[in-house]
């Protein structure tokens, strides 16, 4: 935004839209995506399509939560399923033992995940880099061990089934999950765009330097763990109630690896990255059902090829072709422009004919 918001008015809104949002292909696409999500049911209410989009939305929350911790703060977590699955189980058990509705058990589960997040973050104070990643990897596996030790309480390898629904119909569930996703993304955006977010970036780049300046990196790292775990737990609770089952699948290595794949595919250390990654890969994997037994082979090959040629993620790769940075004022411009929209400098030097 250029300048503080003084008066809210419709003409101002349209000006903003035209000059700030639609001027850039990236932001225009984001707006279109938002509209698509909100208006999709007008085009199709096929429960299957709604299901795919709902799952994509809640996985987007999960992926974004991972990115918050691993992308922004650089504490690469390979065991994020711990928060995802723990929250699902907590919500299921609370619902079963105390009879509370999902509206209460899901946030409670997320809060429990937050506590777990801080606990997992504690070893990180001593352990760094790949060592930390391994420690995070251990947590969901140890949790699985506990689950199998007390099958009466946790349902063992079958999990807890018959969980309450999120809404009365697939359409209701869709809007609920999409709404929660937008709210979660907004919160994460506020967090990463604030001073706290700045410190996250800094800690990732050079933690020693940040500590030298007198910043309490311990507090910020624990905050990152807690916040990340909260959102992962939120996604986990929604997932359990959407599938109506909280099972050991939600704590598996595969579940830990998925947000990593989605986020890196879309673009790490950004918010659009995990969202783009999930909304591209989850429906793609569904669509690949037509390939039958070649489905996973095609999927893996696709990831390999895209990562090889767009190592910074799909969004960055695409935006770099659609947008250009002004050499003087660093503002981004659409690639079709010849002069920068902010400072007027020529973006492309015209060829001099000899």
């Amino acid at each position: 935004m250029t300048g503080p918001l003084r008066v809210w008015s419709l003409p101002w809104f349209f000006l903003y839209l035209r000059h700030e949002v639609l001027a850039l292909p990236g932001r225009a696409i984001a707006l279109l995506f938002l509209l698509f999500l909100l208006l999709f049911p007008l085009f199709s209410q096929d429960p299957y399509h709604l299901r795919v989009l709902t799952l994509s939305a809640l996985f987007a929350i999960y992926a974004a939560s991972w990115d918050l911790l691993s992308g922004y703060t650089g504490q690469v977590s390979l065991g994020h399923a711990f928060f995802f699955g723990l929250s699902g189980y907590a919500s299921a058990i609370l619902g079963r033992e105390l009879g509370l509705p999902p509206g209460l058990t899901i946030p409670l589960g997320a809060l429990l995940a937050t506590v777990a997040g801080v606990l997992v973050g504690l070893p990180s104070l001593r352990v760094k880099g790949p060592y930390l990643s391994l420690v995070t990897l251990a947590f969901p596996i140890i949790a699985l061990g506990f689950i199998f030790l007390f099958p009466g309480f946790t349902g063992g390898e079958l999990g807890l089934s018959g969980l309450a629904r999120l809404g009365g119909s697939r359409l209701q569930e869709y809007y609920l999950v999409v709404g929660v996703m937008l709210a979660a993304l907004y919160l994460m955006w506020r967090l990463t765009a604030s001073r706290v977010g700045l410190f996250f970036h800094a800690i990732r780049e050079d933690e020693a330097a940040v500590r030298m300046v007198g910043v309490n990196t311990v507090a910020y790292k624990l905050l990152a763990f807690g916040a990340s775990a909260f959102f992962a737990g939120l996604a986990g609770g929604l997932y359990a109630h959407y599938l109506r089952v909280a099972g050991p699948d939600s704590l598996s290595l595969f579940t830990s690896i998925q947000p990593v794949i989605w986020t890196v595919f879309g673009g790490i250390a950004t918010l659009y990255g995990p969202v783009a990654g999930t909304f591209l890969l989850v429906p793609l994997l569904e669509a690949l059902r037509v390939a039958e037994e070649w489905r996973m082979v095609a999927f893996a090959l696709l990831i390999l090829l895209v990562m090889r040629f767009l190592p910074q993620g799909v969004v960055r790769g695409v935006l770099d072709r659609l947008e250009e940075e002004c050499p003087r004022c660093k503002a981004r411009n659409a690639f079709t422009r010849r002069r920068c929209r902010v400072c007027g400098v020529t973006l492309r030097v015209k060829e001099v004919r000899a």
């Binding site: 099958p151 063992g156 999990g159 089934s161 099972g247 050991p248």
Partner: protein, 428 residues
Amino acid sequence: MKGKFFGFALAFLLGGLAHGQTLRIGVVGPMAFVQGEHTWYGATLASEELNQAGGIQVGDRRYRVELVRVDTNEITSVTDATTAVERAITAQRVDFLIGGFRSEAILAMSEVAADYKKVFIITGAALDGILAGRVDRNYERFKYLFRVSPNKSSDLARTSLLLLGEVVQAVRQLGVQRPRVAILAERAAWADPLVETASRLITTPPPQGYGAEVAGVWRPSATATDVTPELNAIRQAQAQVIYTILSGPVGVPFGRDWGRLKIPAAPVGINVEAQQETWLQATDGLGAYVATLNTLAPGVAITPKTIPFISKFQARFKRFPIYTASGAYAALHILAEALNRAGTLEADAVVKALEATNYVGPSGRIVFDKVHDVTWGPGYTTGLGVQWVGGRMQAFWPRDWRVGNQVVRYAGVRPYELPPWVVEAWRR
């Protein structure tokens, strides 16, 4: 002109009646694995039989059967399975569902089926709780679920314990007064009640129990690749019999390591891997003499339909059918009969008709109980006890099984054989 028009219309109508409509049946399962594959094969065989006979008669219409292959990938991902089922119901518009394999996935898939009130006939998973506790407590929601195979876990337990009895008896005949039985059960919820039941039965004196001893209980992971520690411990505990409760991949390393180390204890019980015809190849030939319960065995006619089914299956698909194949085959025929009785495709009526099922299939007589599960017992479906002898799978039970005043026996069943090194080690 008018005459031509009427003639044309009449021909069209008659043609329409003759061609009839199609009934889309979703065959659900992990198609990359043998269990899903056989579900598809069994269903294919049944659908071809039905279509050759002119289709299924429902009311005054004949329906052709069309199978829709639904690969659930349930072994890897429960989410995938539920999405596949939802897609089958909404996008692929199946009318009925049969199949399923992994219990955890079926629990979730059946929720989706119940949401859409689609009849779902299960052919692959034994967990009691898929039906018990759901169909009885919430009949209106879960009445669309039925199970055709395998028998539920608690019934599998009863059969496998009868098999155990045979082997304990064989050991007794060597001169051992109180045989020692080691229990080797994979770490899984379905195995827990079996461990308890078995322990009690083994130690109870006859005639209710076997009057034997429990040498110990070992619980490897269902996906363990090495059970030599357990086997060594079983040997040190001086057990003569190993009661196996294994359904996961661990069955193969068990057979291989047991044979390689020549552990002097005879294995019997549930070992799903040993039901596969690739067993000897997978265990490197060392899995001989392993005994397990199974649904079908070569050359054993449980019902008049058994041998024809096996022959047809082998001729068509070049392999021996496993329980999901006979289950899917039976499921489709049962559905056809129920639709006949109901006279309509309307789900609630079909459910009522299914409840009245009394079908004789390749694996036995299928009659549903109060929770839509297969009834167990002589004259119904109990399964067989098989053993790998002479390079082949051979049935050893039931061979003069006395229940009340009934005696159950089938042609082609031979006596159980103890592994030679067990005889050598324990003969008195």
